[in-house]
Structures are given as C-alpha cells and as structure tokens.
C-alpha cells in the first residue's frame, strides 16, 4: 500500500480485451490513472470508451487483461465491488431515486442507524450538509430529487460518491445537459476534488473542456489505445487526428452531386425558436439536396428535427413547404405537409418490435390502404414487398417479427416505413447508430438514392465521416443556434469539420 502510494497510480488497466458475441470491442487496451489527476478519455462512437469504463465499474468482466487499483490486482465483478475499491461512476441522471430526498439518496443502502436499527434521518441530513459544505455547495438535503434540475442530480451523485469515500470518479459526458455557467461551476468543483487527491476519468467529446480541465488525455480508436499524453504536449489538431485516424472506407467517400438551388425550396425554416432548445434557426432545403446537421449532443440537432415533425412546439418562426407557410402542430400535420422523421432511437420511437415487418411498414399507411373500412391486404403486401426489395432488407419472411432482424436491417425497415408514406422531406436522426459498417454504407447509399429521386433529406449524425460522405451542405449547430453553413466543396477534410463543430 505504502509503496503504491509512492508510485501514485490509482488505477492501472493492462491488456484489456473484451468482445461481445464474437465482435471484438477492446483489443488489449492499456490505461493508467494517476492519483489526483483529471484524465480525459476520448474517441469516436464505438471506440470502446464506455466498455472500458464499464469494466472498471464492474458492469462487464474483461475477457483478458489485468486491473490494478492502488497497485493491487483486483477483480471487480459488480458495481458494489467497484464501490468497495473506491471507484464511483457519476451518471448524468436516472441513477437517483426521483421520489426520495437528496439526503435519502446519498445514503441509500448505507443509511446511518439510530435506536433499534431504525434509520437516523437526522444524522444523514447532518452528514449531507457536511458533504455539501466540503464541496462548497448549498443544497437543501430535504429537497425531493425529482423536483431538482439535472445539475443538482450530478452534485447529488458526486456527494453520494464522496460519502462512500470514493477516490476514483468516472464522469461520462458530465456537461452534456448543463448550461455554460453550470459547466464552469462543475469544473471548479472538479478542481477542488482533484486538489483533495481524488482521481477523475473524464469522458467527453468536447475538446475545449478537455483542454481546459484535463491533465492527460487518452484516445481510443477501434478498441485500441492510440495515444496517452499530457494535454500540454498536444494540440487540438493532433487530438482530432488521433480520434479520426487515417483509414477511410470506400463507401464513405464523397460522391459529388449537383443540386439546382434555383427553384422554390422544398422546405424552408425561418428563424425558428423554442425556449431553452434552439433559437433563430433558418435554413433552406432544395429538391434533391442532402443537408447535414453537425453538432455536439445538446447542440439542438434532435430538437430541431422534433419540432419540424410536430412533436415539440416552437415559440416563434415559420416553416414553409414549397414556398407555402404551413402550421405544424402535430405529427399528422407534418405528415400531411410531406415531412417524415426517422427517429433517433428506433427501438423506442420507430418500431413495434413484436409486430411483423409487414405490420410495422404499413403502420403509417393504414388510412390510405383502407377501402370501405376494410384493409386492402393484397395491396399492402405488394407495397411491403417492393419496399423490402428496394432497400434490400434481409428478411426470411415479411411476416416475421422485427426483433428477429439485425440492427442494420431494423433500421432499413424504419426508413422503408417512412418511404411508404412517400414524403417529400425526410429527416433522419442518427440513422446509422448501432449498425455495423456494412449496413452503414448501405444506408448511406439509400440516402443518396433518395436525394437522386428528388427528395430532400436532412441528415443528423454525430459521425462526421458520414456527413461528409453524403451531404451537399452542412449546417453546423452550436448551443441551439446555427453557427455556419458549409458547402461540402469547401470542406477539405474531416479535421476541418471537427474544428468547426468543436470551436466556439
């Protein structure tokens, strides 16, 4: 113990290997966390950051490799065991009991006991106040967590970790739901924790933050550690280079397309604003055009899509379809105006998993396929078969339930579902999330073909490679506003786009 303290290494991961169902996610990753440092962990989607941290947190067991905490080899098989080793994960939300008070949450399952083994709520309240005083916060220990905003949830989480004497905190995108001032305040707290000897793994996509608060940075790409170095030794561009890497799949190569921007736009947004979500968002989408939306989580990408499709209300601004103002107050209005949304979470919002491929596809069409109150089943089947063929969905039968299909094929069904309604404008929110590389390139081909047939496509994606592969223009969003509109021809490389998205 004493010797490891001299070494000053809080956590050492060596040669960590992990695969899921034959799909290797981590190929022998090394990672080291020094005592009292803030160590940023970066990488693109699917680079393996979360998997690595879930191994440290005891959620997954590694297939191979060694985990050492304070120099001692340990096996962490559950979040409780992680806690016993002084490791705590700070979740953003959903990790507290909304119906209990702040103090009750902090001491959940480790409540101080009073007479006869009953809970001593007064004592936990007192200790909560102490904890918050140490953190320099002023929070009512009796406030019900569900009534507090996200920022407080995080503070409560941190206090909970401290109450269990955690020495190692893992923070996953802690600022994604915080405002700028809240984030700054969080950074001040991180510095304070750091000064008291606590080590922090800081997972983030935001370069600025990393350069502001991290001592060292580790970049993962495709399940390998590509670099670990002091932040001071690196430039923003170097970090981006490491995240992006060199290889470029053929399917992700840009095919230049010509878009006539002379006619009336298919869709035009004029100064759309919604309090707390986005403001003064204007853009035009022409027939045959693919407009990419780039931005970090919380930049307003998804929120704008939801507003266009009538799920959320806008406070002000105008939406024009083919030059005519339309009022979109609900999903049906949007569909009538020829707008379709392919939602972010296909399982939650896009599909009925237990239903057949056919039933899912025809859901938006039920009214049109009705004749005298009865479904025209034969025509429905024709529509389904032609769509399945057109998008090359791999199904054994159109009557099999959706959950039989792979993620990529499920996503194709979601796209097909909305194509069946023959929209003019398709808004796609992260259409390739969670699908394999082959399905990704097929989906990108579908996007291109849609535009070639004269439809307008808005493509939202966190993967800049994808945006660059298909977009004609790219709208860069930041904190709810349009920062700039880039013509694809003007963007030389992924690094440039990264820059545009990251820097203020």
């Amino acid at each position: 113990m004493a010797s490891s303290r001299e070494e000053g290494i809080a956590v050492e991961l060596k040669g960590i290997v992990k695969s899921f169902g034959g799909n290797a996610v981590l190929h022998g990753v090394d990672f080291e966390l020094r005592k009292g440092e803030v160590h940023a962990l970066m990488g693109g989607n699917g680079a393996g950051k979360s998997t690595l941290m879930k191994i440290l947190e005891g959620v997954y067991a590694p297939d191979a490799g060694e985990v050492k905490v304070n120099g001692e080899p340990v096996e962490i098989r559950s979040p409780q065991e992680a806690q016993e080793n002084g490791i705590a994960m700070i979740f953003q939300e959903f990790s507290l009991i909304p119906t209990l008070s702040v103090a009750q949450n902090i001491f959940l399952n480790s409540e101080p006991r009073g007479k006869g083994g009953l809970l001593d709520d007064r004592e936990s309240r007192r200790r909560t106040c102490e904890l918050f005083a140490e953190m320099g916060e002023d929070i009512d220990p009796d406030a019900i967590v569900g009534n507090l905003s996200t920022g407080y949830w995080q503070l409560t989480e941190i206090a909970k970790a401290l109450s269990r004497e955690a020495q190692i905190l893992i923070m996953d995108e802690p600022t994604s739901s915080l405002s700028k001032t809240e984030s700054e305040a969080l950074f001040a707290l991180i510095k304070k924790l750091q000064a008291s000897g606590i080590s922090i793994v800081y997972i983030s996509h935001r370069m600025e933050e990393v350069f502001q608060i991290a001592d060292r940075v580790t970049v993962l790409r495709n399940g390998r550690n590509v670099i670990t170095d002091d932040v001071a030794n690196l430039t923003l561009d170097e970090v981006i280079d490491h995240i992006v890497g060199q290889k470029m799949e053929a399917a992700f190569e840009w095919q230049e397309r010509e878009v006539e921007r002379t006619e009336t736009p298919l869709l035009e947004a004029k100064e759309l604003s919604a309090a707390g979500r986005f403001r003064d968002v204007s853009f035009r989408l022409y027939p045959g055009e693919i407009l990419g939306f780039a931005g970090l989580m919380g930049s307003g990408r998804t929120e704008i899509a939801r507003a266009l499709f009538g799920i959320d209300k806008v406070d002000s601004g105008e939406i024009l379809v083919r030059g005519r103002p339309v009022s979109i107050r609900g999903v049906q209005d949007a569909m009538d105006a020829g707008i379709s949304l392919i939602p972010e979470d296909r399982r939650l919002q896009g599909l009925v998993l237990d239903h057949s491929v056919k039933d899912n596809l025809l859901l938006p069409l039920l009214r049109r396929l009705q004749r005298g109150g009865v479904m025209d089943d034969r025509r429905g089947e024709q529509v389904v078969r032609s769509l399945v063929e057109r998008l090359r969905v791999k199904v054994n039968s159109i009557f099999e339930p959706i959950w039989f299909l792979s993620g990529g094929n499920q996503q194709k069904v979601v796209i097909a579902k909305w194509l069946a309604a023959e929209p003019d404008v398709l808004v796609m929110d992260e259409p390739t999330a969670g699908v394999d590389i082959a399905a990704k390139s097929e989906i990108l081909d579908i996007v291109r073909n849609l535009a070639n047939s004269g439809k307008g496509v808005i493509l939202i994606s966190s993967e800049l490679v994808e945006l660059l592969a298909v977009s004609d223009r790219i709208l860069v969003l930041q904190e709810g506003t349009v920062k700039q509109v880039l013509d694809r021809r003007e963007v030389g490389s992924e690094e440039e786009l990264h820059h545009a998205v990251q820097t203020v």
């Binding site: 009991i97 959940l108 399952n109 809970l119 320099g136 905003s149 407080y152 405002s179 709810g480």
Partner: protein, 342 residues
Amino acid sequence: MLSRLFKRTTDSQPAADADGQPAEGADGQPAARSLSFDWRQYVVFIAFVVVLAVFGATLYDSGFLSPNNLLNIVRQSAIIAVMAVAMTFVISAAEIDLSVGSVAGLASVLSALAVSEYGLFAGIAAGVLTGLVVGSINGALVAALRIPSFLVTLGMLGIAVGTARWITDSAPVPILDDAFNNIFGTGQIGPVPSLLIWLGVFLVAGHVILRKSAYGRRVLATGGNESAARFSGVHTRRIKFYVLLASSTVAALAGMLYAGRLQSGRYQWGEGDELSVIAAVILGGTSLFGGFGTVVGSVLGALLVGLINNGLTLMGLEFSQQQIVRGAIIILAVALARKGLR
C-alpha cells in the same frame, strides 16, 4: 457557490435551460429548496374533513355523528384499512396485488376448518400459513421469473377463490370457538373493539417500517427507480418478493378478522376487496407509479371510503348506487394522483 447557478425547478416543467440563466433563488436562500406544496399528500385529510362535515350536517338527524355510528364506520373499514397498510408497500414498490380479497376468503375458510378440527392455535396457524404460501408463490413468480405482478396476482385471485369454494362446496364453515371470534373481530378490550386494536397495531407498525426502517427505504427506492436502486446495492428482486409475501400474509389475517367477526369462514369474505384496498391506498396519496407511499394516508383513505359508504347508506342509496359512487372515487383518485405527479 455552484448551486446558485443552477436553475430551480419547482413545477412540473422540464429543466430545459440551455441558456444558463442564474437561478431565481440567488438572494442568499439555498436555491435547491423544493417549494412546491405537495398537496397530494394532504388531499385525503382535506377530503376526510370535508366529507365528515358535509355528512355530519346533512345526516345529523339520521345519527351519522353518533358515537355508535362512527365506531361502526371504523369497524367496517378496519379490515380494508389493515390490507391497505400492506398494499401501500406493494404499490410503493411499483407492483400490485390483486389477490388480497380472495386470499382473505381462502384464509377464512381454511382457518375456520382448522379451528373446528384442531382448535384455536391450529386455526390461527392455518390462516397465517395460507398467507405465507400464497405470498411466497406470488413473490417468487414476480421476483424470480419476472412475470408482472398484475398477471400473477390476477391469476392467483381466481386460484384462491376457486380453492376456497371447492373445499367448502361454497358453504359457510361456522366457527364456534369463542376465543377465536374474540381475538379476531367481535371481542373488546375494555371499551375498545379488537378490530380497532388490530388496526392501530398495523397503522403504527406499517408507518414506522415504511418511514424509519431500511426495508421501507428500500421499498421506496425500488419503486422510485429500480435500476438506480440496484446500482446502490439494493436487492430489488428480494424487496419485491417480500412486499408480495407481506401483502398476502396480511390479507390472510384480514380473512381471519372477517371469520372472527362473522363467526364463520366463507369464500365470499373479502370478495372484491382488492378494489377498495387499492382505492384506499391511491386515495391516501401513495403513487401508483411507485416510489412514494404513506401508510397514514392509506388508513385514512380506507376510513374515507367507509365514511362515504356509510353516509350513502344512511341517505338511502342502494348498494348498486354505492358501487357507482365508489367506482367514481377510484377514477377521481387516480386522476388526482396523476396530476400531482407529472
């Protein structure tokens, strides 16, 4: 420092402040103070007083406020109230138990049979055992096999009442043991009816366990956010098992209270009680979505339903009309709970 910068949300609006405005509470007050008055907790108290006052005034001549009638109301509601105490835990854990009424019926029958064959203690043991066995089955199916409690207990409702009818040929089983009848129902200690004592014991014990014991806190955590509770080391499946075990056991005891009061065991005792019990719990302010519960509220809810039933009877309404009013109360209670929560 930091907390002042966060915006307070005291209402049901989502905290969507990406604009980073300073909090309203920046005047030296702790900003994170929840100022919303949770009137849902008090709705049952208010309703209780209002109903009492209205019936007291309009039915004064019919003797609504006479001590005898009031005691009668408590006696009639006590059995529902006892079951409501246990149901509070079930619903707080975001589960449901639809089998309580028929478990009460089954326990009354088995208890009555055992009393007549083997005497008092065997009778008590048979009743309690009925609850433990049914509760273990309910709990195990929900906790181990993860079948929704709604379905498990709906099935158990049929099994329990069917069993009770089958073994008695649908006939009542008389209980001639005075000690049994005195303990469970008809007896008194001084001027206090034994039903009232049972109610008092359950009220106090239930309240302390829910509010002050680690078990109670874990029940609330399980119902409030199961995965978060699990990550804090709470054995959520064990908790679900125990709430259902306790619910059936208390329901069996309620069956014995029926048996003692009516000096017989019959499958019909407790028939339809599940609805009254759930209505009492929800009316009392326990969240149907789990995570929040109040034993005192549930007991008051049961008394309130009893108050209304009694008042309606005195007003000359028929049982069928009372059923309609009671149904309307359930809907109203759920509507209010929903409004309060979201």
